[in-house]
């Protein structure tokens, strides 16, 4: 069981390592989106500090969505997805492994880049830590919920835009709790409540999302 999970993760990470170009695109997308905001809004430091957490979080949502539509699509095209669906292990483990791999490939780099972007937005050190922490709890949610969207839109025309349309509203709680936690540090109202709610949302996604995307995969492959 666990072995299967690890194999799926290792396989996806290996494949991503062989295609570094695709992987870098998503990371640079994240950096660029965030950097566009000061240009559009103006360099006023206190203003930037107010919008900083929200901007970084929204950019993280967009960056994860950008890479999501390929989560199953590549494997679907070359037939390896079918082969994996026919393996003896439960399909929910496959979708869980895929989501974890997506997080390792796309989520963890975001965590590492985020503090640098936070500095651009004039965030103080405690807020930077909180930004990384909230992204650490929040980005797995993005991968898990996103895997549902990727499974539902498998092989459809305009899959990428469609995934965004389906999944973005579901991301709202993660965005509110995540950006709110950083906000709490800035305003001095504390972040524990936000973080625990974010954690609860993560637990729920972890329990439900793999099953739902497994069902969605079955529907889409049929």
């Amino acid at each position: 069981m666990l072995k299967f999970l690890f194999t799926v993760i290792r396989r996806d990470v290996l494949l991503a390592a062989r295609r570094r170009g695709d992987w870098l695109t998503a990371q640079f997308f994240f950096v660029m989106v965030v950097s566009m905001f000061p240009l559009g809004i103006g360099p006023e430091p206190s203003m930037l500090r107010t919008i900083g957490p929200g901007v970084v979080w929204v950019a993280a949502l967009l960056a994860s969505l950008l890479s999501l539509d390929r989560l199953f699509a590549d494997d679907y095209r070359d037939g390896t997805l079918e082969q994996m669906l026919m393996s003896p292990s439960p399909i929910a483990l496959l979708t869980l492994g895929k989501a974890i791999a997506h997080w390792i490939i796309n989520g963890i780099p975001l965590l590492l880049i985020a503090p640098l972007l936070g500095i651009q937005f004039n965030l103080p050190a405690e807020a930077l830590w909180m930004l990384v922490l909230s992204l650490a709890i929040g980005t797995p949610i993005l991968s898990l919920l996103g895997s549902i969207g990727a499974a539902l839109t498998l092989g459809l025309r305009g899959g990428g835009a469609l995934v965004t349309l389906l999944i973005m509203p579901l991301y709202v709680p993660a965005l509110i709790f995540g950006a709110g936690a950083v906000e709490g540090v800035l305003s001095g109202t504390g972040s524990e409540a936000h973080l625990s709610l974010l954690g609860a949302f993560l637990m729920m996604s972890l329990l439900l999302a793999p099953w739902v995307s497994a069902m969605a995969l079955k529907v889409s492959v049929e």
């Binding site: 072995k3 299967f4 194999t7 799926v8 396989r11 290996l14 494949l15 062989r18 295609r19 095209r77 070359d78 037939g79 390896t80 079918e82 082969q83 994996m84 669906l85 026919m86 393996s87 003896p88 292990s89 439960p90 492959v221 049929e222």
Partner: protein
């Protein structure tokens, strides 16, 4: 061992076939025949458990496929239109990862032997991207051999292969069935299995 009863399949609103059934035991092969668009591939996908039939049931060792998922996954191997190999991995990595996903350990020696048998000894370390279509098909066939499955389900196994490749596949299937395995296949090309007559099942009108 494998039995199908009253299978029906719909695509869109079109009924492709209905009331299809057969029994297949050890050491038997089944050739599915029918023209284009009659539902051969759809039937094979139902038999693999990839899609659910509109009516009817498929049983493996007496259990419906839904219940036998784990065992069936171990004992069945499917080769579809797509080869099911990753272009970014070498043939060797492809075989070993596929085996690991099926819950088996595949050592380098066995994988090398299988790749040599399908005539790929020279391209073992290249990513599959640089291989020709026929060579990639051969990688998939090597995967089939190393899968150690009892039941083979092959959708057009001969496409893209040269004369020598076709002979190799015919030999593979024959050896597998003679050794007590089961095989279900579709093909548009004549298939010669020395001293072995497959059952036939015709799909559609």
């Amino acid at each position: 061992m494998l039995s199908a009863n009253g299978l029906a399949c719909e695509r869109g609103e079109r009924l492709l076939f209905r009331n299809l059934g057969f029994e297949l035991g050890r050491g038997e092969a089944l050739l599915v025949v029918g023209g284009n668009g009659r539902g051969k591939t759809s039937l094979l996908r139902i038999l693999c458990g990839l899609s659910a039939p509109a009516a009817g049931v498929v049983r493996w060792r007496g259990d419906p496929l839904g219940k036998a998922h784990e065992q069936y996954g171990r004992e069945m191997a499917y080769l579809g239109h797509a080869n099911g190999i990753k272009d970014d991995l070498t043939p060797m990595e492809n075989l070993r990862i596929a085996a690991a996903l099926n819950g088996r350990e595949l050592d380098a020696g066995t994988a090398t032997a299988a790749l040599e048998r399908v005539g790929l000894s020279r391209c073992m370390d290249f990513p599959a991207r640089v291989l020709s279509f026929g060579q990639r098909r051969r990688v998939a066939l090597a995967g089939l051999m190393t899968a150690g499955a009892l039941l083979w389900i092959l959708d057009e196994p001969l496409t893209g292969l040269d004369v020598e490749g076709v002979a190799m596949v015919e030999r593979m299937i024959r050896d597998h069935v003679v050794a007590g395995g089961l095989a279900i296949m579709t093909t548009h090309q004549p298939l010669v299995l020395d001293g072995l007559t497959p059952k036939t099942l015709s799909v559609g009108e």
